[in-house]
Point group: C2
Chain length 145, copies 2
């Protein structure tokens, strides 16, 4: 479904959202430990999210990553996925056609569209705030052990 990079990216930004709401800036190492991901690879993904303006980073001794509070409810999962994997997973054709639509539908079009639009709605309506709330309330987790 999502690439590994995207899985790490979602976990990372959600973890940052959780910490940022209590004004804690987190370092790359903290993040990688918290979500159980390879440090250097995670670094690349975070850089991409920073460049996409979804995250803020601070260099130097007490630096790290943070999410401006005002962004937590504005940033949706769709933005994160789009920044890393692109939007074809929730907007594209199931069989990979570039130009598949009602006028010229691929073999899976009608059945796939329903599912894909559900995915799209889910991604576009779920905010980082929503996800960080669930974690704060102990309902969900970012790490298995």
């Amino acid at each position: 479904m999502f690439s590994k990079a995207c899985e790490y990216g979602i976990k990372a930004i959600v973890f940052i959202a959780v910490k940022s709401r209590q004004d804690e800036r987190v370092s790359l190492n903290d993040i990688a430990w918290a979500i159980d991901s390879p440090v250097s690879f995670t670094s690349k993904i975070l850089q991409k999210l920073v460049k996409s303006n979804l995250l803020d980073s601070v260099k130097g001794s007490t630096g790290g990553f943070e999410l401006k509070k005002s962004k937590a409810e504005k940033i949706k999962l769709s933005h994160v996925v789009s920044a890393i994997d692109g939007d074809s997973i929730y907007k594209g054709c199931g069989l990979g056609f570039h130009d598949c639509n009602e006028k010229k539908p691929c073999s899976l079009h009608y059945k796939f569209k329903l599912v894909r639009d559900d995915l799209r709605t889910m991604l576009e309506s779920t905010s980082l705030l929503d996800l960080s709330n669930d974690i704060n309330n102990g309902i969900t987790f970012l790490k298995q052990n």
Copy 2:
């Protein structure tokens, strides 16, 4: 969403289903032309589907690939996807956890589960016969041009 191999695999087996219902056996070259896919790569994918017992192949001069008529309505998209990509796309965790469930749900679990189960239902209820019907009726296509 699906791998390239899986996209080709679905197109290929649907094309074979269409031809097989009028008792036409099709060659690898015909298939690759019909679905606009790289010939040798398609060959590998078809071999996998044959080994998974979703298809039958016949060697020799008038050989090719065919789908036993009785199989067309029994084989669902889920079987094809599972043979090529595995079933994690419609059964697995959205964040890649091996052991994500109601007891220990990942951050995306509840929202993702709804979409994933829709996908699963769609894949498990759509048969090759369904898809070949739509093509026969000129409703859908396997090739863009």
